[in-house]
Amino acid sequence: MTGEREGPAARPRLAVLYNPKLRGIFYQLVLLAILVWLGIEFALNAKTNLQAQKIATGFGFLDNTAGFGVNQSLIAYQESDTYGRVFFVGLLNTLVVSAFGIALATAIGFLVGVARLSNNWLIARLAGVYVEVIRNLPLLFQILFWYLAVLGALPAPRNAISVLDGVFLSNRGIAVPRPLFGEGSGLVLAAFAIGIVVTLMLRFWAQARQEKTGQQFPLGRAAAGLILGLPLLVMIAAGFPIGFELPQLRGFNFVGGVTMIPEFTALLIALSTYTAAFIAEIVRSGIQAVSRGQTEAAYSLGLKPGRTMSMVVIPQAMRVIIPPLTSQYLNLTKNSSLAVGIGYPDLFAVFAGTTLNQTGQAIEILAVTMAVYLVISLITSALMNWYNSRLQLVER
């Protein structure tokens, strides 16, 4: 062992064949070559196939007349409009149902998640049953169930179920009153905005004062007065400029008010209750991830249970909750594409569905549709990551 041992400088030279670095480069070149070859092959095939089937290429079709109707549109749309406009109609419908769905799912999810941890045995079990039943049924099944079995079973408009004579449930949709903004309503809205801004400033000031002197400020009551009371005073002073237009039965359908079409309602209910079951589990595990010592420490400092929850447990639980919550929001947005199953005119249904059928330009249309969902995903996750980084523990 002595003497004949070579120094580290004289390491035996590896044969080129066994040099890991060169091997790595070789493998990667092979992979790239395969991918490039596949890409070229696909492109050539696509070209011949498209020519053989006489399908146009390019995005010129976006300026052509669509020629089909859409039963819910947030922007003015008629059959003579172009495919390009159809795209925006669909995109807006997707965004609307996703936004409402996310808000509802979050509310239901947090409620059920907290209920699962309630020390009331019955409500905890009930919440558990809700989560298990909803999570273990396919979403499309639930969408169809709400659409066909629940909303489809509502009576015709003539015998609509009325709630407080303002909301009417029928198989044509749910008609709700529409707010009418008369003269002077701008003042009320302005008062509302001022209320919010002043409350935010007040909160800032109250926090600074509490940090300095320890004195607390009854922020809740002040906020209620500013945000609700102020607009109410202005409303009275201006002589009630904001009224409501009630939906009224005229012939076979409701006129006036706002009617939520049954497709929208079914999709919204199914999406939000489905996602809420997952959010509830996330909330539950997030709250359970905060160690009991934190709660006990808060009690020993004299905090009441409510304040312990809101000031000690929830802020720490949020750190665990936010990342999986983000992916649930993304799932909800992506799942809204199941609208095509019941004919809600979302991006997928009107663009990748009807427009694809009429023009046959699968490559362009599906590429655009996929790109839109990817962009929505990226924006949502960027926003949530930003929020998450604000909540992160500041460590050394």
């Binding site: 992979l31 696909f42 009331n120 694809l356 599906l366």
Partner: protein, 380 residues
């Protein structure tokens, strides 16, 4: 205090015992402690009780008490004939049962489907029991041999078996074929993608990241449309691909991306020491991964894989949008049958469908919980 003679207080007699505390044990105590311990809690309890009453009673009435159990057609499920409000019309399910399970698979060849189901079950059950022996052989049989045997059995066309077009497949058969193929194909693909994502070669890593994030960022339905309408354009026009096969390709690619993320979680949980020990023993990359890292990592992510499978099983319903009639699709088609059109047909169908899906998914999720608890023993 020493030396003091002053007696502080000596009780002259035994004090009377305090009354016993209001029952703390027993059912009454439990109800008081858990349900009625404050006013707000009592209100919550009564609201929940009302909710249970409002849901459970109509449900039991519909499913069992008012249900019609035998009959031959729609007339037997109409209230005029039955004489009371009609609940579920179970003969409808009985009449449609074969369609719901086999689709339009030829009647005389149903044994082939049954045989495939039985074979799958026989191989799957020992795989799921942790104590059963021969895990390696069993997984090779289930993941490697079974799909091939099932393919020849179901498609036919060789070994003297009659060829059956996939167009006539349907119902639970399609649901299971799509879900099982998805999981069997996506597992190896997902492992490769996960290894690629953790690779040190920038081109391989970049490719895998793009692949995974792309499929995870788009809805499954766009993937199915991609596979149905776009894929044929990319392939030579001499190839004709079966509609079901196209969907299978889409589902496999989609679930591989999700599987890759599950496996990556397992890979990240393996401590560095394991890799270093393997290198110290002189094992190369594939041997390190195959013999040391993956066996440990995959065992860790079994619950994740099962959860993925549940998701996939539920997502198979989406194939009905590209006109392939799975279980839910067949049910929807069955609603349109005028021979069974009654006011309760729709609800009966949904009830049955819901029960089947729930039984499948719930038992799988319980299984994944069971594995999770088994794996967790050392930590808690």
């Amino acid at each position: 205090m020493t030396g003091t003679t002053q007696t502080a207080y000596v009780a002259p007699a035994i004090t009377a015992p305090l009354p016993p505390p209001i029952a703390v044990g027993g059912p009454v105590g439990w109800v008081r402690g858990n349900l009625l311990n404050s006013w707000s809690n009592a209100i919550v309890t009564f609201v929940s009780l009302y909710l249970i009453w409002a849901v459970a009673v109509p449900l039991i009435n519909f499913l069992i008490i008012d249900a019609v159990w035998d009959g031959a057609g729609r007339a037997d499920c109409l209230p005029e004939k039955v004489g009371h409000t009609v609940g579920a019309c179970w003969p409808f399910i009985g009449a449609k049962f074969s369609q719901l399970v086999y689709g339009f698979y030829p009647w005389n060849l149903h044994w082939r489907v049954d045989l495939t189901f039985a074979l799958g079950a026989v191989l799957l059950v020992p795989l799921m029991i942790p104590r059963a022996p021969l895990k390696m052989l069993n997984s090779i049989l289930f993941f490697g041999v079974f799909p091939i045997v099932a393919f020849f059995l179901l498609v036919g066309g060789s070994f003297g078996l009659e060829h059956v077009e996939t167009r006539s497949w349907g119902g639970l058969l399609v649901t299971l074929v799509v879900a099982v193929t998805g999981i069997v194909v996506s597992l190896p693909l997902g492992i490769l993608l996960a290894l690629g994502r953790r690779s040190h070669m920038p081109a391989v890593q970049g490719m895998c990241v793009i692949f995974i994030e792309f499929w995870r960022g788009v809805p499954l339905i766009t993937v199915l449309f991609f596979a149905t309408y776009m894929l044929p354009l990319f392939l030579p026009n001499t190839w004709t691909i079966d509609a079901l096969l196209r969907v299978l390709v889409g589902v496999a690619l989609f679930s591989a991306a999700y599987m890759a993320e599950v496996v990556r979680g397992g890979l990240q949980a393996i401590p560095r020491g394991q890799f270093e020990a393997a290198s110290a023993l002189g094992l190369g990359y594939w041997k390190t991964m195959g013999l040391i890292v993956l066996p440990q990592a995959l065992r860790l992510v079994i619950p994740g894989i099962v959860n993925n499978f549940i998701g996939l099983f539920k997502d198979t319903t989406l194939v009905l949008i590209v006109s392939i009639f799975d279980f839910l699709g067949q049910m929807r088609a069955a609603f349109a049958d005028p021979n069974w059109s009654t006011p309760v047909t729709l609800y009966t169908g949904f009830a049955f469908c819901g029960i089947v899906y729930f039984v499948f998914c719930f038992s799988m999720s319980r299984y994944s919980l069971f594995v999770e608890r088994r794996l967790n023993t050392s930590h808690r």
